[in-house]
């Protein structure tokens, strides 16, 4: 386990470095370009030269690389990610923090459902139960998981929002909503999260199902399943306690491996729905050419992946009794 934690740390460090060096290695000055295009699109930027100079000195772009890197790291440590170019004086970190709860809520909720449903489907299919039901479902979800989630968004909104008028087309909440723990507020938020959640679930469940299926096939042939049968245990008991339980264990690790693509996909889905999480923030910031916010989001995505990997690494020994190392 220590090895894994060390690896996660390495990932983190490498990511931070890439995030720092990549923009600087590429010729071109994004800040100037961003401010320039802002002027041409009609936004007023007072004292262009002074602003550019201020940014440059703040970010020490005129200083040697080592000093820049030092500043970068210390800024990170204090979560100072800069000020928003589009909405000064809001800071990047405040904007990100505001959008974070939405993403965490949506992602957690959707991934949990997707993982559970997908795994159960895959396990049932691999075990051989109810083939008439599981085969077409497996086929459906496999196909769906090969298509990027936000494409499903088009279909969803077209049908459920336009044709049927059941769900809102975009956003995380109604514009006229009063926030608070009222029933209307909670229902409103839930209603807005159904479509994006469905997109995430349908586009990722297939992946879990496929993984679980092959694990279940392997487990089914194990000796302990045969012994369970010779003990005269009921089919459902064998399926749940001997099959599913043992097939599930490596799945948690798979969750860790897949997390980066799950996050990538959900960012795009949120973006499509203008959901006020990181994805929605990303969309508006790209549109506004708010360079620093986008950079901040990038950094945050990387950090969140690392964070999730850490949690999984810590959670795994608790869930998997075979990992308890006896010294």
């Amino acid at each position: 386990m220590r090895k894994k934690l060390f690896q996660i740390l390495i990932v983190f460090i490498i990511s931070i470095c890439i995030n720092f060096f990549l923009p600087r290695l590429i010729p071109g000055d994004p800040i100037t370009a961003s401010l320039l295009s802002r002027t041409t699109s009609g936004q007023v930027v007072t004292d262009m030269d002074k602003t550019i100079a201020m940014y440059k000195s703040k970010y020490g772009l005129d200083k040697p690389l080592i000093v820049q890197f030092k500043n970068y790291v210390s800024d990170l440590a204090t979560l100072d990610l800069g000020t928003s170019l589009a909405d000064p004086p809001q800071t990047v970190s405040s904007k990100i923090m505001a959008s974070l709860p939405w993403t965490v809520g949506l992602l957690l909720f959707s991934t949990l459902i997707s993982f559970t449903l997908g795994s159960l489907l895959g396990a049932a299919h691999g075990w051989g139960k109810a083939k008439r039901l599981t085969s077409p479902l497996m086929g459906l979800f496999s196909i769906l998981s090969s298509v990027p989630g936000f494409l499903l968004g088009f279909v969803f909104v077209a049908i459920f929002s336009q044709k049927l008028g059941l769900l809102p087309a975009a956003g995380g909440f109604s514009p006229t909503l009063n926030f608070g723990w009222t029933k209307t507020a909670v229902l409103d938020i839930l209603k807005h999260s159904i479509a994006p959640a469905m997109c995430i679930i349908f586009s990722t469940a297939g992946f879990w199902a496929i993984q679980m299926r092959s694990m279940t096939i392997t487990v089914k042939q194990e000796d302990y399943v045969k012994f369970a049968e010779s003990k005269g245990l009921s089919e459902s008991r064998i399926f749940f306690k001997y099959g599913l339980r043992n097939a599930m264990l490596p799945q948690i690790t798979n969750l860790g491996l897949a997390i980066s693509s799950v996050i990538s996909g959900s960012v795009l889905i949120e973006s499509f729905f203008n959901y006020p999480g990181l994805g929605g923030l990303l969309k508006t910031s790209v549109f506004n050419q708010d360079y620093f916010v986008v950079q901040g989001i990038v950094l945050f995505l990387i950090i969140s992946v690392t964070f999730v990997l850490l949690i999984i690494e810590l959670l795994n020994p608790l869930l998997d009794p075979t990992l308890k190392v006896n010294s």
Binding site: V11, N19, L22, V267, I297
Partner: protein, 275 residues
């Protein structure tokens, strides 16, 4: 060589049919209709425009014909580069082991956890002039890890097989063994990871384009989708704007998925349980 299943051939056929359709139809159809204002905007599919027009007056059929090649090119180029880098690194790291293996493995395992969208955003924002080739290369830089892992695992298992030991005992040079004896056994895995590579490249490309950050000046399938969301096509009921690109993309991804399934049966025959 084990036999390839029908799934693979169907997928391959679909893929090529789409390519042929795109390139052949271009000969008959006027692709300049993709320009803004070439027809009346918001025309539903019908007599005036086979697939309708968008809010800029662009003909949808022309848009598809112009947009699809871009996705194909980036996908195939990116997939090829990714496979070349990944397979080579996997081959070397698996065969020679030792320090090289440790370094390659650490880098690969670390990079695999970085969400691709993050790096793509950094690249898209900072590179002033993004070309198809440069985008493909960047994506390849993010997707080489999967081929590397797969090939490495295969090489490791082959390395210790008896027939390789016999080659060595016969005095064959290491590089010679690598290319003449190990490589041919990797072909099904190379094919399988190539398909996967192309697949992930295309997904990443479309994702980036849907945010409006695609290749400069390119009007690709993802870009069409981007503009359709910009102009709220779903809300205004302009379904003919986003449906053609989604259909084309679905066909592409489906064909790649079928190919991948077909190759998977060759690569992992034990996985197919009796249905």
């Amino acid at each position: 060589m084990k036999k390839l299943t029908a799934s693979f051939y169907i997928g391959l056929a679909l893929f090529f049919l789409l390519i042929i359709f795109t390139y052949v139809t271009r000969l008959f159809y006027d692709t300049s209709l993709v320009d803004i204002g070439s027809k009346m905007p918001y025309l539903p599919p019908g007599a005036d425009a086979a697939l309708g027009t968008d809010s800029f007056g662009r003909d949808m059929l022309a848009s598809i014909l112009v947009g699809t090649p871009s996705t194909f090119q980036i996908g195939l180029i990116g997939g090829t580069i990714g496979l070349l880098i990944g397979a080579t690194l996997g081959l070397i790291s698996g065969y020679f082991g030792g320090k090289i293996d440790t370094i390659v493995r650490t880098i690969s395992d670390s990079l695999i956890t970085i969400p691709s969208i993050a790096i793509l955003l950094v690249a898209a924002l900072n590179i002033e002039h993004l070309t198809r080739f440069s985008l493909a290369t960047i994506i390849a830089g993010l997707s080489w890890m999967y081929p590397a892992r797969t090939i490495r695992a295969q090489v490791l298992s082959l390395k210790n097989k008896d027939f390789i030991k016999i080659c060595r005992a016969n005095g064959q040079g290491e590089l010679d063994i690598l290319f003449r004896d190990v490589m041919p056994n990797l072909l099904p895995y190379l094919a399988s990871t190539y398909v996967l590579s192309v697949f992930t490249t295309m997904i990443a490309t479309v994702g980036l384009e849907s945010l409006g950050l695609g290749v400069d000046g390119d009007y690709s399938l993802g870009t069409i989708l981007y503009w359709s969301t910009r102009k709220a096509a779903v809300v205004t009921g302009t379904w003919w704007w986003y449906t053609p690109p989604i259909l084309v993309l679905t066909v592409i991804f489906l064909s790649l998925l079928l190919m991948s399934i077909g190759l998977d049966k060759v690569v992992r025959p034990s996985d197919s349980a009796k249905v």
